[in-house]
């Protein structure tokens, strides 16, 4: 699904207020939608993601919880089975570790074992930024590897709003990741019934020479690199996955058919990570369209440090993307394009 089909922008929001808007509209529309999490009623969550909804909807529907992640997700699972649509807000995705059984062993498996859908959304701010090793985990691959969970990771306000609406009108669990560094990013948002389908990637930037496949903050990095490379005459196509599970294989394959060269940009570690899955997917479905091997540009296999220069030292940056894309664009014959 391409960006060309999107309706004309109607309003501008931030990444965070887009979530709040989407929630507000869905809560107005559907009285069974409610939110539970820590510090959400007054503060509106640690990223202001539901700011103002407490006053509007009251304590029953914007429920402050104790710091009990297992109880938060478990109660969301059971409530979802009992005719409601809970949104469990973990604030930081890292806190999912305290509720991993509820997420992986309960929410994700109930439809399969017992034939009952679990319309649960677990929202959490994710991605690598400041905060050190324990607040910057990349759980994408863990959750992508869990049958029964959808995993979304939008990069702009439009998709935040459209995806939360899809999640709240669907039937199965969705882990809704939002990148820390995008919290204040501004952009257009759709109207009350403009949904972004879960499982659909978008072409964030058209280009004919190399496809960069990424998501979340990677879209910003890729776009900056693409702008710089355009000055050299290299036209970079940027694919924003928007959803990590299920992957939009069709959009990825079509992109590679156009350019024949693909780089996967990911701030998660390479080993068994999302980039590995995407590279393999291209090998499975588009091998004969590839002119060069798929390149992965990822974070180092390391926890995230505190010191900013150390963080920068292990994340892929714009300069590295430019270098890698340039090499990929110019490569001929047997590969020397292996990067990182």
């Amino acid at each position: 699904m391409s960006s060309a089909t999107e309706p004309r922008p109607k309003a501008v929001a931030t990444y965070s207020t887009a979530f709040q808007e989407g929630m507000r509209e869905e809560m107005d529309r559907d009285p069974t939608v409610f939110v539970l999490g820590t510090d959400i009623y007054d503060r509106g969550g640690h990223f202001s993601q539901v700011k103002g909804l407490g006053e509007r909807f009251g304590h029953e529907r914007i429920r402050d919880t104790p710091i009990s992640e297992a109880a938060m997700v478990a109660s969301g699972v059971g409530a979802a089975l009992n005719g409601t649509r809970p949104v469990v807000d973990l604030n930081f995705l890292d806190f999912a570790f305290g509720a991993m059984d509820e997420l992986v062993n309960q929410a994700a498996k109930i439809r399969y074992m017992w034939g009952r859908p679990v319309p649960l959304v677990v929202r959490a701010t994710a991605g690598v930024a400041q905060g050190g090793a324990q607040h910057n985990n990349s759980l994408q691959a863990w959750l992508m590897n869990t049958p029964g969970l959808a995993v979304v990771f939008p990069s702009r306000p439009w998709d935040v709003k459209g995806l939360i609406k899809s999640a709240l009108r669907g039937s199965d669990p969705v882990v809704f990741m939002m990148h820390k560094l995008l919290t204040g990013a501004r952009g257009p948002v759709g109207g009350p019934d403009e949904l972004v389908p879960i499982g659909s990637a978008r072409i964030a930037r058209p280009g004919s020479d190399v496809t960069v496949i990424t998501y979340g903050y990677g879209v910003v990095v890729a776009d900056d690199a693409a702008t710089a490379l355009a000055g050299e005459g290299i036209q970079v196509e940027v694919i924003d996955l928007r959803t990590l599970a299920p992957l939009d294989v069709t959009t990825l394959v079509e992109a590679v058919k156009r350019t024949g060269r693909a780089l996967v940009l990911d701030e998660a570690p390479a080993l068994s990570g999302p980039a590995a899955e995407i590279a393999t997917t291209l090998s499975d479905h588009a091998f004969w369209y590839l002119d060069q091997p798929v390149v992965r540009l990822t974070a180092a296999h390391s926890p995230i440090p505190h010191s900013p220069p150390l963080v920068d030292g292990l994340l892929p940056n714009v300069g590295q993307v430019i270098d890698a894309v340039r090499r990929l664009a110019l490569a001929r014959g047997p590969s020397q394009s292996s990067v990182s």
Partner: protein, 341 residues
């Protein structure tokens, strides 16, 4: 059979003689089912084996019979008794244990993951303490939707030492949810004597600290179980919040079928079997009070045997599920696009 409640002094308020007959029949059915299934497990007919609940019948039937049809029960890894008490068909339960297509869950669940939402069994659960979480959420859903449903979440003495159980108890307490927190304390967490790993005086005493009514109940006495659960359900429906019930019970078999038991004495088992057996006690109560005749007891036993024999034949003869369907119905999200190869 007399037509009025032969138990005087309000032993079982509101229960007719016919209902008391059914309670006993359910307990006997569970006993025969579990003894039979345990034997089948030892003969390799049940893939992965099972956790027999023989000895714990009164807890399951007492709970189920104190609830309404739209109430919710969520069980544990040892929960065939709860499934049968909630009226899941024995043949379909056994077929599920076998992994057959005709099982309650088409062979996707198995012994530890039985469910029938229409009958109010919101899953038995292979993860210790997790069933209580589902029940907690069901109670939250009831609260949000303003229904007057009640949910019962089961766990064992082993589960009482998981952190999550107390997260669940706390949330139910602060939100005054219509939840009955039901601990089946059968004294052993697999091979570990609970008293050797459980701080404090009792599990119920821990719960009381959360500000909810909490009591120990003789789990081998169905009348006591029923009375406690009915009172807790009434409290919950009146908006007075959760109740914690610690049922003191005992499993006659090991943790799993075929387990070699070295952690308790045969004398201890004999003591429980001969002095506190829930089926014997309730049978005696009903016959001594004139509710049932010896002929009734014989009929109940014969009926249970016939139902279980038929269940075995059904499970044996049922077809296996079609392997080509194994990855179906995982998620509506993944079923709608091309990513599943």
């Amino acid at each position: 059979m007399p037509t009025t409640n032969g138990l005087d002094a309000g032993l079982v308020p509101g229960a007719t003689d016919a209902e008391l007959y059914d309670w006993l029949a359910d307990m006997v059915l569970i006993r025969v089912f579990e003894e039979t299934a345990d034997g089948l497990a030892l003969r390799g007919r049940i893939p992965g084996g099972m956790h027999p609940a023989i000895g714990q019948e009164a807890v399951a039937v007492g709970i189920a019979r104190a609830l309404r049809a739209d109430d919710v029960v969520a069980g544990t890894h040892r929960s065939h008794h709860h499934a049968l008490a909630k009226q899941l068909p024995p043949a379909a339960v056994l077929a599920e244990l076998y992994g057959k297509a005709t099982g309650t869950n088409g062979g996707r669940g198995g012994s530890m993951h039985l469910a029938d939402f229409d009958l109010g069994l919101w899953g038995t659960n292979g993860i210790v303490g997790a069933g209580l979480g589902i029940a907690l959420g069901a109670a939250l859903g009831a609260s949000v939707r303003c229904t007057d449903q009640v949910a019962v979440g089961l766990f064992g003495d082993g589960g009482a030492n998981t952190g999550r159980v107390w997260e669940f108890v706390n949330l139910a307490a602060i939100w005054r949810l219509p939840l009955i927190v039901a601990c089946e304390n059968n004294l052993y967490a697999v091979e570990t004597a609970s008293k050797s790993v459980t701080g404090g005086n009792s599990i119920a005493e821990r719960a009381a600290a959360f500000g909810m009514p909490a009591q120990q109940v003789d789990g081998q006495d169905i009348v006591e179980v029923h009375r406690a659960v009915r009172a807790a359900a009434d409290r919950a429906r009146a908006g007075d919040g959760p109740t914690f019930l610690e049922f003191l019970t005992y499993r006659y078999k090991g943790h799993n079928s075929g387990e070699v038991i070295r952690y308790r004495t045969e004398d201890e088992v004999t003591q429980w079997r001969t002095s506190r057996d829930p089926v014997e006690r309730f049978s005696a109560l009903l016959t001594n009070s004139g509710v049932l005749t010896p002929e009734d007891l014989t009929r109940i036993a014969d009926d249970a045997r016939a139902v279980v024999d038929a269940a075995v034949a059904f499970a044996e003869e049922s077809p296996w599920p079609d392997p080509s369907t194994a990855a179906e119905n995982v998620s509506a999200w993944s079923n709608r696009d091309g990513s599943v190869r």
